[in-house]
Subunit: 138 residues, 2 copies
DNA sequence: AATATTTTGCAACAACGTTGCAATTTATTA
DNA sequence: TAATAAATTGCAACGTTGTTGCAAAATATT
């Protein structure tokens, strides 16, 4: 089994189970972000829907993955590259959704631009989601 | 009946029906954005769920409202201030989600910052959603 | 007022998401 | 390694959310 995957799980005090390993494999092997549905399809029949829900939730809590807001009721998830922790992410990149291929990707090299809020507002997180045509589909 | 509301509908070649009027009243009377669920609750028992879905869809297509992406599977909608048209919005503001009161508001005065994309990517829309504590909850 | 067009509500359904609990799997201890 | 403790999984059952077809009702047009 992939040592990197085992390391991710152990580092986060999670039991190494076939379901979690499989889902991490999917993330590591995927160019873009994955929705719950994507994972269910790609994982085959082997895992119960509920297990996928619970696994994503745990990964999110531990800071192993982060989620990407959408306007179509299908949250996408992607691996955190940095050492993120529960509710304390260091990811600071924007996300791109291709209107052609549908892929959602992390643009790791494009940092979140500064946003000046009106007086009285404080911000804890800024999400930037750009949609358009990706490099591959151009 | 509110003349402004009738005007919005007529301008968009939509029949003036009690459901559409009611939903526009809700938007005009609300400080923040509304989810489908919010509208169903606030509208009372008077309208069928399906009518709310269809109305929001039509309003979206006509450019009467715009939607705000979220990470919790509950899209929010807000009135377009400018003269937006089907798939051709002029709104160029960011959105703020308060972690305390839960309100989602359009910050009309905060424009979307420029985002420099990697070579090969083209953008048609940029969504910025800031979460934190709002002016009221501070 | 009569007719044509559009919208609505209902019913039925599909997809998505949640919870409790017993069985299984994984981790820990001896 | 075997026994035990702890955590995870699958199942079943359920609730919520979103979609579609169609006849009835409302609205717009003549
Ligand atoms: Mn990302
Ligand atoms: Mn807005
Ligand atoms: Zn693409
Ligand atoms: Zn607030």
């Amino acid at each position: 089994m992939n040592a990197q995957i085992e390391d991710i799980l152990k580092r986060n005090q999670l039991s190494v189970t076939s379901g979690r390993v499989k889902i991490l494999e999917l993330f590591l092997g995927s160019a873009g972000a994955l929705s719950h549905g994507d994972i269910e399809k790609k994982a085959g029949e082997r895992f119960d829907r509920v297990t996928v829900y619970r696994t994503l939730q745990v990964f999110l809590e531990k800071g192993i993955i982060h989620n990407i807001p959408t306007s179509d009721n299908s949250i996408r998830y992607a691996l955190c590259k940095d050492n993120c922790h529960a509710g304390h992410h260091h990811d600071n990149h924007i996300h791109f959704v291709c209107n052609d291929c549908g892929n959602t990707i992390c643009l790791e090299n494009v940092t979140i631009p500064p946003v000046k809020l009106p007086k009285g507002f404080t911000s804890t997180q800024v999400d930037v989601v750009v949609s358009g045509i990706c490099k591959e589909c151009k």
